[in-house]
Symmetry: C2
DNA sequence: CTGTTAGCGCGTTCAG
DNA sequence: CTGAACGCGCTAACAG
């Protein structure tokens, strides 16, 4: 299957008996052209349905007006929201977006970066995969002076702009909420421990305990790799504990939902037997039974801010100095922690 | 902010005192080169960290190995799954993907197509917006011989390859299931009526009624524009009906979830008071209380098939003749229709 | 086996 | 006000 022929400036020049450069000038409304020829050319361009070849244009001006985005997973509602925000605001400023997913694999992440760079994107927005625990590929971007920002899943030591949520404070708020609702033994269920957000949220959890003078208890911290299988395993382990915790804060909503589902199948009542809270405010968390207390992270907003700042930098509207943008999270109390709004 | 310099073939040619074309040939492992010079060039390329400029390459061979994708909404789990399938299988065959969302707006859809075409994508995969009820922009693609396929939200009369689900049969199965579970008055809640899937699913609904000798009752068909507001309004209207239906088939899961949530807030019990079913098998449908009977549509599979067939056509592995690929759906019976698996 | 030449489509001097 | 000439980075036909 072959693509049909596309009209070029050359052809419209030929038809009108003018030079290509004249056409080029006319099409970008250069002031130093005779209005009449300008009009004629515009007309002919329209008639022939001329569409500029962005490829050639990009090659010439060595800018593609295209941004590359890498996220761990498109099917995650949170990242989809980020993408949505990035798209909308990139488009508003005349930029296109190429999206890739790393499927939480560092190898795919590297490959994605490589092809995006090869296609000459002007800059990148990256959210790191779960596996990413070394950073040579980012160092290389940095050394090659390819502009990029990190969002949500960031590497703290990288000297680039990072957009994150106030994860620690969000976790602090949930934990505090659980305590205030009467929980005495609050557990934290973490994802992989070297994940940025696992660490931050643990900090917030510990901060709240400390504030209420509760001693940290290692048996009240569990770790899962976030596969459904492990999540359920952890859910069962909690049931089997003696004494059980009376409140469980899960690092992320899908984990909390897995736990909730398993508990329900085992006859555990939430929040009567144990309170349960998540993080992210996925759509799902609002419709499970009981509705899940969680922390909302506006992904769309994060995407919007990330791309806006990046473009500001690209276009010289903002300093090149890397900055750290921290977005606020909001506690969303629901029935799963005994809250009755 | 400026991008750093990128190594070109010219530079490595200069360093080695050979011509650019030799470098070009070496880099693509041409058989007619002296192994030694080939080795040298490869080495130098590596040393200088050469990365080919796909832009220039594309311009030269007038193929970008990039596909454009347009979906109504990235944040919909179903479309995210499609995208995921498209990405994975496009990448496997050496293609990149540019994704756009139309936000259910025909104007944005047109704009998206325009920019994707301008960036010279080799082909397009399009799922139409809800608003799209005229098709000049697709006609133009067709006339300009830009290869494209339509998936899920298709226009039936367009002479291009279309990938759809067997929506009618899916709707038939749900309706039949409701009847078999004992419902005497089954209602169909439709989305906008000129939507392809609204029509197809209605057909399936009617087909099942007919098969069971149930007369079609216009008062048992309602329409919503699928905004949450209208969905809730319809949910209330159903409560207010006298007599009420005893089973309600909602065209799509989010609608069913809205209805369920509203009913629960009004004390209606599902399935005791009324049975309820959706369509799509969103993750949400499995975790609401009660879990929602629905019809599963494998989006990833749809994306995979769409892109695979498109690439087959592009690369001459499949005939250019437009075909219609119809994927099977599967009934997923759950508690909301009284099913106890 | 390798260099020279000639574009791909466009923008930008530099002359007229 | 307009045309000719050049080059972005790369590939390919033609020589040798």
């Amino acid at each position: 299957m072959k693509k049909g022929h596309q009209v070029t400036m050359k052809e419209i020049a030929k038809r009108l008996g003018v030079s290509v450069s004249t056409v080029s000038r006319a099409l970008k409304d250069s002031p130093e052209l005779h209005p009449e020829t300008k009009r004629k050319i515009a007309e002919m361009a329209k008639e022939m349905n001329y569409q500029p070849n962005l490829l050639a244009q990009s090659l010439r001006i060595s800018r593609t007006k295209t941004l590359g985005v890498i996220v761990p997973e498109i099917t995650s509602h949170f990242f989809a929201s980020c993408i949505s925000g990035i798209q909308d605001f990139a488009n508003k400023r005349g930029y296109n977006v190429m999206i890739c997913q790393s499927n939480e694999s560092i190898e795919l992440e590297k490959a994605n970066i490589k092809t995006l760079v090869a296609t000459q994107v002007d800059a990148l927005l990256i959210s790191l995969s779960r596996e990413t625990n070394h950073f040579e590929h980012l160092d290389e971007l940095y050394q090659r002076e390819i502009p990029f920002v990190l969002f949500d899943r960031v590497q703290e030591d990288m000297p680039v702009t990072k957009i994150t949520f106030n994860d620690q404070n969000g976790a602090y708020q949930v934990t505090k909420h659980l305590i205030e609702m009467g929980c005495k033994r609050v557990m934290y269920v973490s994802g992989p421990e070297d994940l940025y957000i696992s660490k931050k949220r643990k900090k917030g959890y510990l901060q709240a305990l400390k504030e209420f003078g509760i001693k940290e208890d290692p048996s009240l911290i569990k770790v899962t790799d976030l596969t459904q299988e492990q999540n359920i395993k952890v859910a069962q382990e909690i049931i089997d504990m003696n004494p059980r915790p009376d409140g469980v804060f899960c690092m992320i909503d899908p984990l909390a939902v897995d736990v909730l589902t398993h508990w329900k199948s085992k006859g555990i009542k939430v929040p009567e037997d144990m309170s349960l809270a998540g993080f992210t405010n996925n759509p799902t968390s609002a419709v499970v039974e009981p509705p899940l207390t969680t922390v909302s992270q506006p992904g769309y907003e994060m995407g919007k801010l990330s791309v806006s700042h990046l473009l500001d930098q690209l276009e010289g509207l903002a300093s090149d100095e890397p900055i750290s943008i921290v977005l606020d999270t909001t506690l969303v109390p629901r029935k799963s922690t005994g809250y009755t709004g």
